[in-house]
């Protein structure tokens, strides 16, 4: 039976919701794909069309929550008038609001998925790519409106924001303040700092500094080596031109 894209998206969401519920109830290990399929009301085999493995369910959840956060952002009345810093803040807050209903699930899975010394597999890469894409669009909008001057190492900055997002979520998971207001303030203040640094072109200054250091240290060392080389060739010349008969 052919089903349309809308139906497909709904099924996907239903499966993810069922998986989250089951995992909160009984944990990842004892959760079976069949139980998820039953709870979501899809066929035992159909579920594999959406998620081939149990791990894929977890990755699917995080990707889906990014998408629905983005959807929510777009529905904010005056979103277009937000500046970059506000957009970032809103994105963070909205994603966390999305996690709120499934907090136990997120607490259970987040660290193991995102926070490990070796970057995760394909699943994590897809989520990160989605996140970086959203961030990239927000930066692009800021560049288009002239809010932010062009700067170097964009990818590095996006990557930093991704890391910051992971740190924020971990902070949020440990936050016991009323309505997680500490997290809200944490986001507000750190973004303030980051944005100020971006605006004032700290990064470019750092780059300038780096190239200065590179020039003054590395290049001067090369010159020293050049000197050495000269010395070496002089000795060689002397040696080669040595005439014992003389």
């Amino acid at each position: 039976m052919k089903i349309n894209a809308k139906q497909k998206a709904e099924n996907r969401r239903a499966i993810l919701a069922a998986a989250v519920d089951l995992m909160i109830e009984s944990g990842f290990k004892s959760m079976s794909m069949r139980a998820v399929a039953r709870k979501a009301g899809v066929g035992d085999a159909t579920i594999y069309n959406y998620f081939p493995t149990k791990e894929a369910l977890i990755y699917g959840y995080y990707e889906e929550s990014l998408n629905s956060a983005l959807q929510t952002l777009m529905e904010v009345d005056d979103y277009e008038q937000f500046d970059l810093r506000e957009k970032l803040q809103l994105l963070f807050e909205t994603v966390l609001e999305g996690y709120l209903a499934d907090r136990e699930f997120v607490a259970e899975t987040f660290a193991s998925v995102f926070f490990r010394p070796v970057p995760g597999g394909k699943g994590v890469r897809a989520i990160r790519a989605r996140f970086l894409h959203i961030i990239g669009e927000q930066f692009q909008a800021a560049a288009d409106s002239g809010e932010l001057a062009d700067f170097m190492f964009k990818d590095l900055v996006y990557q930093c924001i991704w890391d910051f997002f992971i740190a924020t979520t971990l902070y949020w998971l440990k936050d016991e303040s009323e309505q997680f207001s500490n997290t809200t303030v944490f986001i507000d203040k750190s973004l303030d700092l980051g944005y100020t640094m971006l605006k004032s072109g700290v990064l470019d200054k750092v780059t300038g500094l780096a190239s200065f250091l590179f020039k003054s240290h590395v290049l001067s060392r090369i010159e020293m080596i050049m000197d050495e080389r000269d010395t070496f060739s002089r000795i060689k010349d002397e040696f080669m031109s040595y005439d014992p008969a003389r």
Partner: protein
């Protein structure tokens, strides 16, 4: 609009801002102390004046770098202690209503926290950029689902902790100053009031009380939307009108200024003598003047209730002072628990002398039918001198907090009348019917 501003956040940064301020003020004092022995008498006064202005300036720059609490403290200092030179007062007045706001994302988040859902689902529209600053929060426009215009007052999520930290820092900054002891109770009072002002449910019930009871023609009070109020979000109907200080800047004619002053005076008298409860925050930003000169009274964070007995006693006070009846005066003070101790005849005489001067000063307001603040320009500063003399006797008084609030409000109103340069009749049937 970008809301990037230089407000230092976090206890560390705020601490640095304050301590920088203390160091600089200390520096100015040192300079004065060093030059003192060499300066002539008149030069000394000039020096001292310069120093005060310099300090006020430094204090102001320091305070204005901190939002919220500091802003409020700045307001209180300018209104009550009156220590700032006029140029700085003008700056401060601007700050009553023109404060750099919290950013849009934050405002949005605050509503999500308050309602548990996105503002788009609660309101037809919500403007995430604030249109006005409240002392410890800010005010946003919104429309409810039926399209009625609303004003939403929201506060920064950790404002209570911030107040606590700020006050502690302020204590540290002020400790080295000679006047610190005298300021101590004031600082305590300030902290207490801030805590009260951050409880928006209490404010909502105050507003409801006034809107049920004040009922004055040409005075309107915002309607509370109880269902949409939480302790951190106050939802009320939107009030048209310009803040009094903005309105005054448009140079309205004498007649209009008189009308506005008359209405302000009526609000005060009716609140005190009929409701025994006053709006105790006479900040020009809290009076919205409309085109038809009707007044919108906003901000009920600082409301003071009195017992009917206290109001009865207070009512007689102006007449007693003006009449010069010493026995009646002290009897009234005792009844109001302003004087509790037995006072020696000398002290009594000294206090009464001050009170008499004060009464004579106050009496001028009631002497003729109309008092013209435009002509009597030095009136308030004269009164301030007398009050200062009175303050020297303060060890004999028990500071009745009711009295402090009442005096502050009255004094604030007189200041506004003076700014309005209005011609107003202050005689009223509450206070002028003998005692």
């Amino acid at each position: 609009m970008t809301q990037h501003d230089e407000t230092p956040k976090g206890r560390m940064a705020r601490g640095l801002a304050y301590s920088g301020m203390a160091a600089r003020m200390g520096g100015t004092y040192l300079k004065y102390a060093a030059s003192k022995p060499f300066a002539s008498e008149s030069g000394r006064t000039q020096n001292k004046k310069n120093m005060h202005e310099k300090n006020a300036e430094v204090l102001f720059t320091g305070l204005s770098r901190l939002k919220g609490t500091a802003l409020k403290i700045a307001q209180l200092l300018s209104l009550e202690l009156d220590i700032f030179p006029p140029e700085i007062c003008a700056q401060l007045e601007k700050s009553y209503t023109d404060v750099p706001p919290m950013n849009r994302a934050m405002a949005h988040k605050l509503l999500v926290n308050a309602y548990g859902t996105r503002p788009e689902e609660v309101f037809r529209s919500f403007d995430s950029a604030a249109f006005a600053a409240a002392s410890l929060g800010q005010v946003h426009r919104a429309e409810d689902l039926e399209g009625k215009a609303l004003a939403l007052k929201v506060q920064y999520p950790t404002i209570r902790q911030t107040i606590h930290d700020d006050i502690r820092l302020l204590r540290g900054v002020l400790r080295p100053f000679a006047d610190y002891k005298a300021m101590k109770p004031a600082i305590k009072e300030i902290e207490h009031r801030f805590m009260e002002e951050t409880d928006y449910l209490a404010e909502a019930s105050n507003m409801q009380f006034f809107s049920d009871n004040l009922e004055l023609e040409n005075v309107s009070i915002p309607q509370v939307y109880e269902g949409l109020c939480t302790d951190r979000v106050l939802c009320m109907s939107f009030m048209e009108g310009q803040p009094l200080n903005h309105w005054l800047a448009t140079s309205p004619p004498q007649e209009d200024r008189d009308t506005v002053a008359r209405r302000l005076n009526r609000i005060f008298l009716k609140s005190l003598y009929e409701l025994t409860c006053i709006h105790a925050d006479p900040n020009p930003g809290n009076y919205l003047i409309r085109d038809d000169l009707s007044i919108g009274l906003v901000d009920y964070g600082c409301v003071k209730r009195f017992t009917p007995e206290f109001v009865q006693l207070y009512r007689r006070l102006p007449q007693i002072i003006i009449s010069g009846d010493k026995a009646a005066y002290f009897a009234a003070l005792r009844d109001m628990h302003v004087v509790d101790k037995e006072l020696g005849p000398e002290v009594e005489e000294a206090i009464f002398e001050c009170a008499y001067a004060f009464g004579k000063w106050l009496g001028r307001l009631y002497e003729s039918e109309y008092f013209d603040f435009g002509v009597e320009t030095g009136f308030i500063s004269e009164g301030k001198e007398i009050m200062r003399a009175m303050l020297k006797q303060r060890s004999h008084f028990t500071m009745n907090p009711d009295m402090i609030f009442l005096d502050r409000t009255r004094y604030g109103l007189l200041r506004i009348y003076e700014q309005l340069k209005c011609r107003i009749s202050l005689c009223n049937h509450y206070e002028n019917s003998g005692y």
